[in-house]
Amino acid sequence: MLHTKIFRKSILPALAAGLFLAGCKKEEYALPVPKDVLQNDVIKRTLGPNIVGQQIEFAYAMAILPEKGKLVSAQVEASIAGANGTYLENNAYYTNGSGQDVGVPVAEPSVTSGNTTSVTYNVDTFAATLRYYYVIPEEARGKQVSFTFSAKSDDGETVSYKMGPYTIATMDMVRKLNVSNGAAAYISIADMKVYDEAGAAANPDKIDLVYVYYADPDVIFNHALVSPAADAQYLPGVDLPAGVNKSTKVQKVFNLQDYNLAQSQYGIYIDDLDFEKLDLSNAPDFAINLKAEAGVWAETSDGKYRAYIYFNSVNNGSKSAVISMKRYTMSGK
């Protein structure tokens, strides 16, 4: 009881007073003092796996106090030279009231020489953010790439920022291939192409799957990806060219709208690891009743390739579909 009394009479008021005082304390606001040196910062704007042939986008910001000088040049050095199309933007962007990015030219178009891409400013500016687009070259496949961003000001200062290393995916990607029943229906995972009947007859060993559309009166068949070696009942109306006889394993998937393939709002990415961990040992050799935004995991008969084939859209009227594919080459095959 004594303890309670002490607590009530002395500690509690002290605590309350402390809290009151702390709450009332007024911290004076002081304007932050900017650093008087050339500064820079980088963010990577692209997400997901880095796929050969695709871009990695960065935004490179640099600034100096206006009374100290202006920007002279900016450059990016990649550890592996970018493929054709790699460039450093010569526009600085601002976002207008409608949320759109509007470019203001601030420099000469970028010049790429070997691993280095650079721009030289041609307007007096002390702060700019430039976008850098690195097109991933074939030689970077499965390797790591890192970047050094640097800027110069006219008072002789230089500053740099390192980004990476980033792992470049082993997989390949192809988007928006048109397939149609009875015409461009023969899909080659090895070539990542679609062949018509004549093309399939010329390359029978490369045909892994056949696209079929069939409106069955009794059962739901519709859009299907069927292995040439599958039971004939799953290839209605298909007369396979001679030699087209591979058995490809396929497994139906729904709700896997990979961002790279679907290019829609879903932030889902299929990466090399997904293919490595895939187990299709028990999978069938056909998949029927495929819908838009559905897909299949596939593995070629020789086990060399694993792929994810995504249906961007389907058209029952024209018996056709638009498909996209990510393909992974298994190591050691």
């Binding site: 739901i220 068949f221 009942q233 139906k252 729904f254 709700n255 028990n282 999978a283 998949a287 009743n289």
Partner: protein
């Protein structure tokens, strides 16, 4: 006085919390007094987690059978069965992933175990494929 009452109440509550009123089974699930033992609903999903049933499953709780017709072209080797059971019951064997239903001549048998773990009823799952 108030402090004492609160202290006693908290101690009592703590003791009550520790008291083991109900036994648990080998899975750590509560063994209750319920003796009901049946399947109330059955679902079958494909690898894309979309149903492969062609119509509702027919559950006979007397004969202890589940008859389900699956869509033409269903991959019977890779299916996810889902059982809805009466309150407190559990299933044996447990479903841990994909199940191979392709051997139609040897239908799978799942046993429902009642809440008091004293009643066991085996249910046979008969699958037929929609004819074309």
């Amino acid at each position: 006085m108030k402090t004492y009452i609160i202290t006693i109440a908290v101690s009592l509550l703590a003791l009550a919390g520790c008291k083991k009123d109900y036994p648990v089974d080998e899975d750590g699930l509560l063994i209750t007094t319920r003796a009901e033992c049946y399947v109330s609903n059955f679902e079958l999903l494909g690898t894309d987690f979309v149903t492969v049933r062609n119509g509702a499953a027919v559950i006979d709780t007397v004969a202890q059978t589940i008859n389900v017709e699956v869509l033409y072209g269903t991959d019977l080797k890779n299916l996810y069965p889902q059982f809805t059971l009466v309150t407190d019951a559990k299933l044996d064997p447990k479903i841990t992933g994909k199940v191979d239903f392709s051997d139609l001549d040897h239908p799978k048998i799942y046993t429902v175990v009642s809440g008091n773990r004293k009643v066991r009823k085996p249910y046979t799952v008969y699958i037929t494929v929609q004819p074309r």
